[in-house]
């Protein structure tokens, strides 16, 4: 029996290569700014080998991210914990909705090991959504943060969490492990939630961010003081000096909140503007804005390609709103160049908000 692919190639151009190639339609051309150069060299392969050895998944591979060759070549990756099957079926995401598996008890340690071996100075830890777990996976997040912190006290730890169905207790669990950045993406404007994130809720996601911020602000005064953070050196110094109080303040500084949205899903300019304002109202410190790209023809279609000038305009507008750091561009993703985005924040040295 002929596969769908071989039928297609039989009808079209004569194949030059063997039967593992196929001919497809001309769909899917991209504007010139959505063009990437693949880095030469074998670094990306090394990263992949290490991840395979430790049995770790990345959102980079899971999301078919076009930045993956570049990021892997630079030796960075965003870890995907809690398994590779998601209990939700968001229409923008390539990760499949399947029956979730058991948690890997050794995963926190494996993430810590990978962070060490990749010599990361900034690690991004994200996950699938696990609505099947009583704590939504918050405890596993916390254990992973602690495992990395234990091994690498100076690494900046960024977590990108699901909404935990709005559970404040779950957010508390994650925050108690003292990540440096608490990231939760609103992804899109509220009008498009039904089409793009049907099992999520815009207000709930905003509330997760606002709640995290309120907890951190409350803590900032009594535990972290108002020292702030003026440079990487000071961060390291604070961390070394504060070994004894690591449980309360991993690096002796505030925790930042971060969120992101995708453009090109069908949102209007005034909706983007309102969304950015909502994020600021929720106290969000850092925002990322990038082009939505459909993982396949069966996902939510790309409504438009936003050009670099418009991304720059949104970046300027977001800065005017008072975000401490903004990344906006066609290939910007939540964790893309997370280290330099964090380093670019404008409020360094100021007391916690």
């Amino acid at each position: 029996m002929l596969s769908r692919e071989s039928k297609m190639s039989a009808n079209l151009r004569e194949p030059i290569v063997g039967d593992e190639t196929k001919t497809t339609t001309k769909a899917g051309r991209f504007p010139p700014w959505l063009r990437k150069r693949i880095p030469a060299g074998g670094e990306a392969r090394e990263v992949r080998r290490l991840l395979a050895e430790l049995g770790l998944a990345t959102v980079c591979a899971g999301a078919h991210c076009p930045n993956m060759p570049e990021c892997y070549a630079r030796g960075t990756a965003a870890f995907l914990i809690l398994g590779n099957s998601c209990t939700r079926s968001c229409r923008f995401c390539a990760i499949e909705k399947r029956a979730p598996g058991a948690l890997r008890e050794d995963e926190p340690e494996a993430v810590a090991q990978a962070t060490a071996r990749l010599k990361l100075r900034h690690v991004v830890i994200t996950s699938v959504t696990r609505d099947d777990l009583a704590d939504g996976g918050a405890g596993h997040f916390a254990r992973t943060i602690c495992a990395v912190r234990e091994r690498l006290p100076h690494v900046v730890i960024e977590v990108l969490t699901p909404d935990f169905q709005g559970s404040h207790a779950c957010v508390d669990t994650v925050l108690a492990a003292r990540p440096d950045i608490f990231n939760h993406n609103v992804e899109t404007v509220p009008r498009l939630y039904a089409a793009v994130r049907p099992e999520a809720d815009y207000r709930r996601s905003l509330d997760v961010l606002a709640y995290a911020k309120s907890r951190l602000a409350a803590r900032g005064g009594d535990q972290c003081g108002t020292a702030g953070l003026s440079s990487r050196g000071e961060l390291a110094e604070a961390s070394t000096a504060g070994q004894a109080s690591r449980a309360t303040s991993a690096c002796g500084h505030r925790i930042y909140t971060k969120s992101g949205l995708m453009l090109g899903l069908g949102e209007a300019a005034d909706e983007i503007r309102a969304c950015l304002a909502d994020l600021r109202a929720a106290g969000c410190d850092i925002v990322t804005i990038g082009q939505y790209l459909a993982p396949s023809a069966s996902h939510h279609p790309v409504a438009r390609f936003v050009n670099p000038a418009e991304f720059a305009a949104w970046e300027a507008e977001a800065r005017t709103l008072g975000f401490a750091a903004v990344a906006s561009g066609p290939f910007v993703r939540s964790s893309y160049q997370a280290e330099s985005v964090f380093a670019s924040r404008e409020d360094q040295g100021r007391p916690p908000a």
Binding site: T21, H64, P66, S296
Partner: protein, 82 residues
């Protein structure tokens, strides 16, 4: 003269995934320098330029335009050391 295989690198999909040849920047017989663009590939998410891993002469193109090729599959062969 040794021929170097140029496989399709990973483009952000998992191993075993694929990309479509958009067009070739080079033809058989062309001399290329290491790092020069050989071919433009398309995935569902972006356009990618594949650079030459070596300097040499294009010996064979093994994937036609509009064809979909799996990661790891040889796209072309380049003669080096001639």
């Amino acid at each position: 003269m040794a021929a170097v295989d140029v496989p399709l690198p990973e483009l952000g999909n998992d191993a075993g995934d694929e990309a479509r040849v958009s067009f070739w920047y080079v033809d058989v017989g062309d001399k290329v320098k290491e790092g020069a663009d050989l071919v433009q590939m398309l995935t569902d998410k972006a356009t990618f330029d594949v650079p030459s891993p070596v300097s040499g002469k294009i010996a064979k193109l093994l994937a036609g335009e509009e064809q979909t090729v799996k990661v790891g599959r040889v796209l072309c062969q380049i003669e080096v050391g001639g």
